[in-house]
């Protein structure tokens, strides 16, 4: 308790508004000899004792005086005669006798006086300890409340960051899907490019090795992958074989007994990953019983299935037409 707080407590002490512990702390302080507080207390006590002067006065019943006069004992009078009328000085703390006069007369022995002082000091010390503990508890409670507020603020910030992280994850997932779609388109463009190159060669472009020769070469390669394909209900007699050359990363599709493409339609080869991805286009003309189709296929090993469907000329980005050939990878 600071001196300012003690000084503030003086008016409350004078009217008796302090708790026992607070009172003991202030009394201990006054016993220490603080002149400022002592002077302040005298002034405020002087105010307090004037308060009854403003009351509406009421005379006590007349019989009381008679009773009082009669009740005084010779022993009490003797006590009063034996005691010295005045004490010589204003000793520290003695002013408190005005507020708390002892119930029994003080013995004259110095031992009792010393014992009283020691007891008062112990009470004051105990009071101070209690007040100090109370103050510390109050401070700890305040700190705890501050920490709780800080914790709430941190939790709120953390929740905000979690929301932000979730949004970022969703954004990354969306962008990953976009990249996958772009990859698919790239593969399709590559296939289209290969097809265009093949058509260019057929129309008098630079001489290329005949596909049949290449197929013969491929069949002699020991580590070639061969995927059989069977006709669906759309073309039960049809069949096919898809070969994959890991060195050149090219796929060879040899199909037989496929119906000729109607006008405005073409066969489209699909590799099924998570979803169908176009591998390339080929057309079967009237009278053809077999067809050899070659296309780059860099991502062969992740394909779950291969399909041949009939789509409009130019192909579709998504599988939509009837399926004529289908494979089932082991």
């Amino acid at each position: 308790m600071t001196h300012e707080e003690l000084e503030d407590a003086v008016p409350l002490y004078a009217v008796g508004a302090l708790e026992r512990t607070e009172r003991q702390v202030l009394e201990a302080h006054l016993l220490s000899g603080c002149l400022a507080c002592h002077s302040s207390l005298k002034e405020h006590q002087s105010v307090a004792v004037l308060l009854p002067f403003s009351l509406t006065l009421t005379q006590p019943p007349r019989a009381i005086k008679t009773k009082i006069m009669a009740a005084r004992t010779p022993a009490a009078a003797a006590e009063s005669v034996s005691q010295p009328p005045n004490k010589p000085s204003l000793e520290p703390g003695e002013w408190m006798n005005h507020l708390f006069p002892p119930d029994e007369p003080s013995p004259a022995s110095s031992f009792a006086w010393v014992a009283g002082v020691v007891l008062l000091a112990l009470l004051a010390g105990g009071g101070y300890f209690a007040w100090d503990s109370y103050t510390r508890i109050a401070e700890d409670t305040t700190k705890l409340a501050q920490l709780q507020t800080e914790l709430d603020r941190t939790r709120s910030a953390l929740a905000e960051r979690e929301r932000s992280l979730t949004a970022s994850r969703e954004d990354i997932q969306r962008r990953t899907s976009d990249v996958a779609a772009l990859k698919d388109q790239l593969i399709q463009r590559e296939a289209e490019l290969d097809d265009a190159q093949a058509q260019l060669a057929l129309r008098g472009g630079p001489p290329l090795r005949a596909p049949q020769d290449e197929l013969g070469l491929l069949l002699r390669t020991p580590d070639v992958k061969a995927i059989p394909m069977a006709g669906t209900t759309m073309a039960k007699p049809a069949a096919g074989m898809l070969l994959f050359d890991a060195r050149t990363k090219k796929a060879w599709l040899y199909a037989v007994n496929l119906p000729a493409c109607p006008d405005g339609a073409t066969y489209q080869v699909w590799a099924i990953y998570e979803k169908p991805v176009s591998v390339g286009l080929f057309c079967v003309n009237n009278g053809d019983t077999s067809h050899l189709f070659v296309t780059p296929l860099p991502n062969f090993k992740n394909a779950k299935q291969f399909i041949v469907s009939l789509e409009p000329v130019g192909g579709r980005s998504e599988l939509s037409g009837p399926i004529y050939l289908s494979s089932q990878l082991p």
Partner: protein, 219 residues
């Protein structure tokens, strides 16, 4: 209990007191020498001390305890204690009436706090208007000394100048013996507000009454 000769003399002397004589006996101007005489066992001095102070002390006891029976009983106990302990009065520490008021106030509050104490009137009554006298307990205002009337007027004016919340807080502490926390709970106000009200109220009263102390010396 038998009375001594001096007791009888005191009763006779008291019985002869007239209103005019009582008018001269101001509570605020009790002579410290009278206390010294009481301390030496002077019955007549004790009787005079009673005549000068009993009305004020009884009024205060009545205000605190709220019952005439309790106030009368307390007054009897207080005067017997004064008779036994008057030797402890030290003029260096205050006027006789300050000592008597402090002693009576302390005993009345103790009695108020005793377990099983009679329930008193509720707080909030005006400082000067409660407990109007009835029957034989007539207000002694017409018989108050000039000095007491002047002091009463001064204190009443100072009191009336206080804002009501400050009056209320001081009243609850001084006349009902409530602690700061109890007052806060009673008025449903924060603890600090009660502290501030009492502090400000007492400071204002101190300033207003300073002229009295300068003129008459501290109580």
């Amino acid at each position: 209990m038998s009375l001594t000769n001096s007791d009888v003399r005191v009763e006779q002397t008291t019985a002869m007191d007239s209103p005019l004589q009582q008018a001269q006996l101001a509570a605020s101007t009790i002579d410290p020498k009278l206390m010294a005489r009481v301390a030496k066992g002077d019955h007549q001095a004790f009787s005079q001390l009673y005549d000068q102070s009993s009305t004020l002390l009884y009024s205060m006891a009545l205000r605190i305890l709220g019952s005439r029976e309790d106030a009368a009983e307390l007054l009897q106990e207080v005067y017997l204690e004064i008779w036994r302990k008057v030797v402890r009065y030290d003029v260096g520490r205050g006027t006789p009436i300050a000592w008597l008021i402090t002693l009576t106030h302390s005993r009345a509050i103790d009695r108020l706090r005793m377990p099983g104490a009679r329930p008193r009137h509720q707080a909030g009554e005006l400082h000067t208007s409660s407990l109007a006298p009835t029957g034989a307990d007539r207000s002694s205002s017409p018989f108050e000394s000039h000095a007491d009337q002047e002091l009463k007027s001064l204190v009443s004016r100072a009191w009336a100048d206080l804002p009501r919340p400050q009056q209320q807080a001081i009243e609850l502490a001084y006349y009902e013996g409530l602690s700061r926390a109890e007052i806060a709970a009673r008025l449903n106000e924060p603890l600090d507000a009660v502290k501030t009200r009492i502090k400000l109220g007492m400071s204002k009263l101190r300033e207003a009454l300073r002229c009295h102390w300068d003129r008459a010396g501290s109580l």
